[in-house]
């Protein structure tokens, strides 16, 4: 009952959900239902690209949940995304079976290449989809929980927290570059063949992944909306604005942060897991601090503390990125850098904030 009211009060969110639902139906339909060259045909490339953006959207929502509502500027959410991606990648790797270059039925190619004899213990179980799914959730959650357990109890906040989240993803970046870690070193995991028996190259599978991404984004959005609309959400924003005061009201701030941070990490992990089969590769650069900080700028551009703004930001910035890196390869970093500067100075509440600001002004005038 109250959830319905929640959505009713969230008009932009509703618009977004409707658009998502439409896309989830129409995009695969136009891709599969119309032949190449037809006016209504959407190419598989475009569909996969948009699918990728949707994963980024979910990732942005997860960052907005902790930054916009809890005041934790995480510069390490890319790590959770990557961990989810690796968990999925390991499943896809196991599905290759003996179709690898070396044809080894037991070991993935890179292990054969490294002259390994046995599958490392942490690879066991990834033959099963449900196990991989469990890991997609559990691994980012465990990292976020362990990290948050220490950080929040010791009341590390503000820029300190941001910097150590960055150090966390940086440490993981270094670790995953090592061949001995058993995750394929700097090549990462790739050459996937199929998922749940469906070949990854086929349009139908890709359409399926697209629908899955749209659904995950919608569900993730609804979960976050549920949290932010609850009393817990109001406690979160109270923590964001006046953390010490919340403690004197009797709330265990560290537990609340831990809960929300871990949940957000899970969302990021799911986004990563959906991303990997669509792009066909996962490698350590996903852990690079630049990646994580880019997510933050999507949220900043879209407007933090709104959730739908994060999705919009992810779509807009990534579309611009795809366009600019193709058209003017050198200009992209200039553009990204300028975006950081301009948005923080001139548009601190992002596009959506700017728009609601305008909207409000008009209302006041009326």
């Amino acid at each position: 009952m109250s959830s319905v009211r929640l959505l009713y009060n969230d008009k932009p969110g509703m618009v977004m959900l409707v658009l998502l639902a439409a896309a989830a139906v129409l995009v695969p339909l136009c891709n599969l239902g119309f032949p190449d060259g037809h006016l209504l045909h959407i190419s598989t490339f475009t569909m996969t690209l948009v699918g990728k953006y949707l994963c980024y959207g979910l990732l942005a929502v997860s960052v907005d949940l902790v930054w916009g509502y809890l005041g934790i500027l995480s510069l390490g959410h890319g790590a959770f995304f990557a961990l989810g991606g690796y968990a999925m990648g390991m499943y896809l790797m196991r599905q290759i079976g003996d179709r690898g270059v070396y044809g080894n039925p037991l070991l993935p190619d890179f292990m054969v290449f490294l002259n390994w004899q046995d599958l490392p213990w942490f690879w066991h179980g990834f033959d099963y989809f449900f196990f991989a799914l469990l890991m997609v959730i559990l691994v980012p959650a465990a990292l976020a929980f362990a990290f948050g357990w220490f950080a929040f109890r010791s009341r590390v906040t503000g820029v300190y927290l941001s910097i150590i989240t960055q150090a966390m993803t940086y440490a993981l970046l270094l670790a995953f570059f090592r061949n001995e870690m058993g995750f394929g070193g700097n090549n990462g995991l790739t050459d996937f063949k199929d998922i749940l028996g469906f070949p990854l190259q086929s349009d139908v599978t890709k359409a399926g992944l697209f629908v899955a991404s749209a659904t995950a984004l919608a569900l993730g959005y609804l979960c976050c909306r549920f949290i932010t609309g609850s009393k817990l959400g109001r406690v979160c924003t109270a923590i964001r604005d006046q953390e010490p005061r919340v403690r004197f009201l009797g709330y265990r701030v560290e537990n609340i942060k831990l809960f929300v941070f871990t949940f957000s990490a899970v969302l990021a992990g799911i986004a990563g897991a959906l991303y990997v089969p669509q792009v066909g590769i996962i490698n350590p650069t996903e852990f690079s601090p630049l990646n994580s900080i880019e997510i933050v700028i999507w949220v900043a551009v879209g407007g933090r503390g709104t959730l739908y703004g994060a999705v919009a930001g992810a779509l807009v910035v990534n579309y611009a990125k795809s366009y600019l890196t193709a058209a003017f390869p050198d200009a992209w970093l200039f553009g990204l850098g300028a975006l950081f500067i301009l948005v923080t100075i001139f548009l601190p509440r992002g596009i959506s904030g700017g728009m609601t600001g305008l909207f409000r002004k008009r209302q006041e005038i009326n």
């Binding site: 150590i164 975006l339 950081f340 100075i345 601190p348």
Partner: protein, 537 residues
Amino acid sequence: MHSFSRDFALAALFWLLLMTQYCSGAEPNSQFLDGLVLLSAQSFTEKEKGIELIGASQDPLAARTLQSLLDGKLFYTSKDNILVYGESEGANYAISDFLSGESLGLVKKRNLEKITINNTLRSTLKTTIALINLQHPDDTVRLAAVNAVLSDINPELLEILAGCYQTEKNEQVRDALSVALAIGGLRQQDTAKRLEALQSVRGDVHPVIKNEIQALIDRETDAIVIKAAKSTLTAIEGKIAWFARLETLFFGLSLGSVLVLAAIGLAITFGVIGVINMAHGELIMLGAYTTYVLQQLMPDSIGLALALSVPAAFGVSGLAGILIERSVIRFLYGRPLETLLATFGISLVLQQTVRSIFSPLNRSVATPDWMSGSITINPILSLTSNRVTIFFFAMLVFGALFLLLKKSSLGLNVRAVAQNRAMARAMGIRAARVDALTFGLGSGIAGIAGVALSQLTNVGPNLGQAYIIDSFMVVVFGGVGNLWGTLLGGLSLGVANKFLEPWSGAVLAKIIILVFIILFIQKRPQGLFPQKGRAAE
């Protein structure tokens, strides 16, 4: 009998020829020429006599002759029996008259007759050459001579070396001689002498001595000597390990000093203005590129260019810093997280700018002579000069900065603004100006760090990125707003890193340090030296 007379006839002929060859040079030394003649003999005993004669001849050419013989480069021409020096060139030999040095062009191999030697001769040759060189006036030649005989010391040689040791004046040569004597001592027949020698080499870390003792243990039969040798070996190994640790400490301090240089500017801006400047690494990079450009401008005086780079880099990075502060950061005071994002944007722009101007490739910056090479402490420990220089440079910069902040009026203003912005402003301090200056100062020091870094690594657009997280770790570890903390934090992190490296590998060491700091901040969020009082809240 027959062969002897033939040899003799040939010898006489050679003698004559050699006489004519040698006439162009100084007074012929008959002993030397006699020796040369004997070298042409078939029999190795004759040759050995010849070598001895040459060795004793005191002729200036003697050492070179024997060395050429040892290297297998002495020949007679088959046709006219001239003694030549031959250098193989493909299938042919480029020959030159040995005595006059006059080039005789290329000849086929079959037109030459090599003066052959066997193993006994080889050893005699080595000893004889060493003997000649041991008398040489040049220190370096004598030193080389001692080191050359280390591997085959016989009792005869030992006596000569002992004699040399008595008269030797040069410190290094004496050291080398003492090592040689010790090795000789270890090879004595007399058990007591071996024990004595073992006693005398305790604590000598020369690798040759260590090997010799190891060899002694393997071949020795006397139990007492073995026991003594083993104990000496342990002592030596202990000492070597100690020096290895010293070396690690040196590398650690060196890394630490670089970290301090990189972090200290950040410590100032973060501690005083409370903003995290994510473009700090790029300001370091600008300093490094300034060094590179100055060197390109004055390629003939690299040392001067480097010296000029310090103020130039300070200026370039400092101005860039002030520009950043005035154009971006000042709009974001009180919003630390936004500052972090905006300065990150600046770092991207700076990187890309440098990439467009200088290409994305790494550039190498030359090291001036006085900074290259190394300072040898003992055979197993030598410190590279550039690292030593940078260490002291870092300390100098630290000291200067410390004085500046403690004693100057700028320092006073800076500390006032850091403690209470509103109050400082009320007292008439122009906070905006202080902010800009502080930011310029911190950035300028980043530029200086870049100069130092250019002497250690290649200069590239990503140079700064590699140091930014480390610098933060140092600042955070040391405690914000505390210069001493930064110094101690930087040095201890550098040392810890280097001590972990051999044990865990470089990457893992870095990860361990990062994890340690993550845990550390959580235990002590204010760092090693927390700021106390309400200002900290």
